[in-house]
C-alpha cells in the first residue's frame, strides 16, 4: 500500500466520524423513535402543533432578528468609517473591537449585568431588552469584522470612477459601496443570527426566564425525554442548513476574508 500526503487527513477523518457523524446518527435515531424504540413521527408533529414550542421558535427568531438588525445598524457605520478613513492607527482601533473577545464570555456578561442593573434599576422588568443588549454586546465583533474586510478590499478606483461620472457621495455609497459590501453583510448576519437563536446562557444570566431554542432542548433532556429533544435539535439543524444554502453563494464571494481576521 502506497502512502500519500492524503494519509495526513486520516486522523481528522477519524475525528469526524466519531464526534460528528456518529452523534448525528444517534440524533436521527432518537428523533424518529419513541420511548419503546418504535418508529414515530409524533415528535415532529408535536413540535409544529404545540403553540408553546412554536412560540419558542418565534421568540428565538424575534430575539435573533432584532439582535442582528441592531448589530448591523451599529456595525456598518463603524466598519465603514474604519475602512475608508486614512487613520494611521486603523489596526489599533480594530484591535480594540476584537479585544473583548479574548475575555471569557460569561465574565463579560456578568460585567454587563452590573452595568445594566445600574441603568435599568430592576433587571427583571425588561427581559426582552436585556436579551437583545446582551447578545448585541456579545456578537458585535462578528458583524464588524467581515464588513470591515469587505469594504477595505474594495478597489478605490471604483468609487473614484463613480465620482468622476458625476455621482455625489451619497449616490456613490448607495450605488457602489453598499452593493459591493453585501457579501460582508451576509457573512456577518449569518455569524450573528444563528448563534443568537440558541445562546440561552445570555438569557439565563440576564434574568429572562422565557425559553429559547437552546433552553427548550435542554429542558427535554433534563426530563429524560431524549426523543423530543433530539427532534428539536434536528429541526434547528435543518434550519441552519437552509440558511447556509441560501447564503452560501454570498459567502463564497466574500472569500472567507472575514474569517481570516478572526
Amino acid at each position: 500500500m502506497r502512502f500519500s500526503r492524503k494519509s495526513l487527513g486520516i486522523p481528522y477523518a477519524v475525528f469526524l466520524v466519531i464526534f460528528v457523524a456518529a452523534p448525528l446518527l444517534f440524533l436521527f435515531y432518537y428523533a424518529f423513535t419513541n420511548g419503546q424504540g418504535q418508529f414515530t413521527l409524533q415528535n415532529f408533529t408535536h413540535f409544529f402543533t404545540d403553540p408553546n414550542t412554536l412560540g419558542t421558535l418565534y421568540y428565538s427568531f424575534s430575539i435573533a432578528l432584532v439582535t442582528t438588525l441592531v448589530c448591523l445598524l451599529l456595525a456598518y457605520p463603524t466598519a465603514y468609517i474604519l475602512a475608508t478613513s486614512n487613520l494611521r492607527s486603523q489596526s489599533v482601533i480594530l484591535m480594540l473591537f476584537i479585544m473583548p473577545m479574548w475575555i471569557n464570555f460569561s465574565l463579560r456578561i456578568t460585567a454587563l449585568k452590573e452595568i445594566l442593573n445600574v441603568i435599568e434599576g430592576n433587571l427583571a422588568m425588561h427581559p426582552f431588552l436585556n436579551a437583545v443588549v446582551g447578545m448585541t454586546y456579545d456578537f458585535m465583533p462578528f458583524m464588524i469584522l467581515p464588513i470591515y474586510t469587505t469594504i477595505s478590499r474594495l478597489d478605490g478606483a471604483l468609487r473614484e470612477a463613480a465620482m468622476d461620472l458625476g455621482a455625489n457621495t451619497v449616490q456613490t455609497f448607495l450605488r457602489v459601496t453598499l452593493p459591493l459590501s453585501v457579501p460582508g453583510i451576509v457573512s456577518g448576519v449569518s455569524m450573528v443570527f444563528l448563534p443568537a437563536m440558541t445562546n440561552y446562557v445570555v438569557l439565563d444570566m440576564l434574568y429572562n426566564s422565557t425559553y429559547i431554542m437552546g433552553s427548550l432542548i435542554g429542558s427535554y433532556f433534563a426530563a429524560y425525554d431524549w426523543h423530543g429533544g433530539s427532534m428539536i435539535s434536528l429541526i434547528l439543524l435543518a434550519m441552519i442548513c437552509i440558511f447556509t444554502l441560501l447564503t452560501g453563494n454570498e459567502e463564497d464571494a466574500a472569500g472567507g476574508r472575514g474569517g481570516a481576521l478572526l
Binding site: 412560540g55 422565557t210 426530563a223 453563494n249
Partner: protein
C-alpha cells in the same frame, strides 16, 4: 526528483500513522479496563490482587477537600478537628490501616440529578453515587441498585459509623418510606439533608409575609422574589400555595393521620392539580425576578431581591456571606409544608456487580464519611447538615454548640431544643440537647441548619414522578416557560413574517441571477 518524492511519501506516511496512533490511544484510554494505568503497568502483576478500585460520583463541591488554615481548626471538648488532606485521601489511608487492603478511589462529580441519570443511561459506570431521594427512588424502582450488606447494619462493629450514628428520625424515614415494597434503608445511606424555605430580608419583608408560599405570587413583591429553576421545587411550592387554606385548616392539622394526608396532598399529580399548578406558575413567572439555580444567593446578598426560595443548606451559606458584609438576612419555612430532602449513597449493580471486595470498600467509604469528625469536616466545608447525629459520640452535638452557643455577653438568650434531631427518644428528652442560643438565631442559621420539631412535623417527602407523570409535568413546565405563539401581538407577527419573506426573496433572487 524520484528520491525526493519518495522521501516525502515516507515522511507523510510516518507522520500520518503516528498521528492516527496517538489519536486512537487517546480514544482508547477512556475505554480501557479499570485499574489500567500506563505508569504502573509493571506493578500491576503484583498488586492486582490487592488494589480495589472504587468509582465514586458525587455532587460538585460536596466533600471536604482539606487544606484548611491553622486558624480554621474546630476546637471541641472531645478534641480538635481540622481537614489537612482531602477526605478521599484520608479514606484510602484509613482503609489500608483498618482492613489491610489498598483501595484507589476514582472520584468524579455531577451537576444535577438529571445529569447523573443521563450519564448512567449513556453507559458511564460507577460503583457508588450520591443522588437525591427522588432519583434514589427511581433507581430503586428500576432495580439498578445493590442492597447494603447485613454487616453494614451490625451496630456492634465499631467501624459501622453510619448505623451507629445516623440521626434516629432520619433512620426512621429511611425505614418507613418504601418503593416497590422495599424500604429505602435497604439500599441507601443518607449523607446530607435539609428542607426548603425562604431566605428573606427582614427590613423589607415581615415574618408574616414569608410564612406562606403565596409570597412568590404576591404582587407586593413584583420582581422582588426568586424561585428555583427546576420543576420539582417549583411544583412543590405551587401545591403549597394552592392548597394553603386546606393545609393550614384546624381539621387537617388535627387529623390523626396528618402526616400521611400531608404527603398525599403534597404529592398530588392529578391532571386537575397540574392544570392549577400551571396557572399559578404562569402568574409567578410574571412576578418573579428570576428562575435560578445558583444566582439567587448572590442576588439576595447584593440586595437585588427581597425573598429567595432556597434549600436550607444554601440558606446557611447565603446568611453567612451576608453576615460578612454586615447585612442581615433571615430564613423562614412556610406554614403549609416544606419539602424534606436527602442526598444519599447508593451502590450500582452495573458497577459493583457481585464483587464483594468492591462492596466492602464502598460501604466502608460511607462509614468513613459518617465518622463524626469527618461528618463535621464535610458540614463545615459544604454548609449542609449531615444526617449523622453521632449516636454515642458527643462530637456532633458539640459541633452544634460550638457553632451556635451564645457568648457570655449576649443579651437575649433563648433555649433551642435539638432533641428532635439528636435524641433517640425526643418526647422524653430531658433537655440534654438544648442549646442556649442568641435570640436572633431563632430565624437564622441555627433554624436553617437544625430545623425545629414543628418544621420537621410539617415536612413532606416528594416522591419521584413515574414516566407518565413526568411527561405531563414536563409539558406543564414547558407551557409555563415557553412563549405562547397565540399571545404574539399582530405588529410583531407582521414584522417577523415580513422580514423572513424579504430575506428569503432576496436570496432567491440573487441565486437565480448567479445561476444565469
Amino acid at each position: 526528483m524520484q528520491s525526493n518524492f519518495h522521501k516525502k511519501t515516507v515522511f507523510s506516511a510516518t507522520l500520518a500513522s503516528m498521528l492516527s496512533f496517538l489519536f486512537l490511544l487517546i480514544c482508547l484510554a477512556g475505554a480501557l479496563p479499570e485499574g489500567f494505568d500506563a505508569g504502573s503497568l509493571c506493578m500491576e502483576a503484583n498488586a492486582a490482587e490487592e488494589t480495589v478500585t472504587l468509582r465514586v460520583c458525587n455532587w460538585e463541591e460536596y466533600i471536604d477537600l482539606g487544606d484548611w488554615d491553622e486558624e480554621e481548626t474546630i476546637e471541641l471538648p472531645s478534641g480538635d478537628i481540622i481537614g489537612e488532606n482531602s477526605m478521599v485521601e484520608d479514606f484510602e489511608e484509613w482503609y489500608y490501616e483498618t482492613y489491610g487492603t489498598r483501595v484507589k478511589v476514582e472520584y468524579s462529580t455531577f451537576g444535577t440529578n438529571e445529569d447523573l441519570y443521563n450519564m448512567l443511561t449513556l453507559g458511564d459506570v460507577y460503583d457508588l453515587v450520591c443522588p437525591s431521594e427522588y432519583l434514589i427512588m427511581k433507581l430503586m424502582a428500576e432495580e439498578a441498585l445493590v442492597p447494603l450488606s447485613d454487616a453494614f447494619f451490625d451496630r456492634s462493629d465499631e467501624n459501622n459509623y453510619y448505623s451507629r450514628g445516623a440521626a434516629p428520625f432520619i433512620r426512621e424515614i429511611f425505614e418507613n418510606s418504601q418503593i416497590g415494597g422495599e424500604p429505602w434503608s435497604k439500599y441507601a445511606a443518607g449523607y446530607m439533608w435539609g428542607v426548603t424555605g425562604l431566605v428573606y430580608n427582614p427590613e423589607t419583608v415581615t415574618e408574616e409575609q414569608v410564612s406562606t408560599w403565596k409570597v412568590l405570587s404576591d404582587p407586593a413583591f413584583a420582581r422582588q422574589v426568586t424561585i428555583k429553576d427546576n420543576v420539582r421545587d417549583a411544583y412543590f411550592a405551587a401545591v403549597g400555595a394552592i392548597k394553603s387554606d386546606l393545609l393550614t385548616s384546624e381539621a387537617f392539622l388535627n387529623d390523626p393521620d396528618y402526616k400521611k394526608n400531608l404527603e398525599t396532598e403534597m404529592n398530588d399529580t392529578s391532571p386537575e392539580m397540574i392544570a392549577q399548578v400551571q396557572d399559578w406558575l404562569k402568574d409567578v413567572k410574571d412576578n418573579v425576578y428570576s428562575f435560578e439555580t445558583d444566582a439567587g444567593k448572590a442576588d439576595m446578598i447584593t440586595g437585588k431581591v427581597a425573598v429567595n426560595y432556597q434549600w436550607s443548606g444554601d440558606a446557611v451559606y447565603t446568611l453567612d456571606q451576608a453576615d460578612e458584609d454586615d447585612y442581615t438576612l433571615c430564613f423562614a419555612v412556610p406554614k403549609e409544608s416544606t419539602d424534606i430532602y436527602f442526598d444519599g449513597w447508593v451502590m450500582l449493580k452495573r458497577g459493583i456487580g457481585d464483587n464483594e471486595k468492591k462492596q466492602h470498600a464502598a460501604e466502608a467509604f460511607i462509614n468513613f464519611l459518617s465518622r463524626p469528625d469527618n461528618a463535621i469536616r464535610n458540614m463545615y466545608y459544604i454548609g449542609y447538615t449531615s444526617v449523622i447525629s453521632g449516636g454515642d459520640d458527643p462530637r456532633m452535638f458539640e459541633y452544634a454548640q460550638y457553632c451556635y452557643e451564645a457568648e457570655d455577653d449576649e443579651e437575649e438568650i433563648v433555649e433551642y431544643d435539638l432533641a428532635s434531631f439528636f435524641s433517640e427518644n425526643p418526647e422524653e428528652s430531658d433537655g440534654e440537647f438544648v442549646i442556649e442560643a442568641p435570640a436572633e438565631q431563632l430565624n437564622r442559621q441555627l433554624y436553617s441548619q437544625y430545623p425545629p420539631a414543628d418544621v420537621i412535623d410539617r415536612s413532606s417527602i416528594m416522591t419521584y414522578f413515574d414516566d407518565e407523570q413526568n411527561a405531563r409535568i414536563n409539558q406543564m413546565w414547558i407551557n409555563v416557560r415557553c412563549f405562547d405563539i397565540r399571545k404574539a401581538s399582530w405588529w410583531s407577527r407582521i414584522l417577523v413574517i415580513g422580514l423572513i419573506i424579504l430575506a428569503v426573496g432576496y436570496f432567491v433572487r440573487r441565486w437565480h441571477r448567479n445561476k444565469a
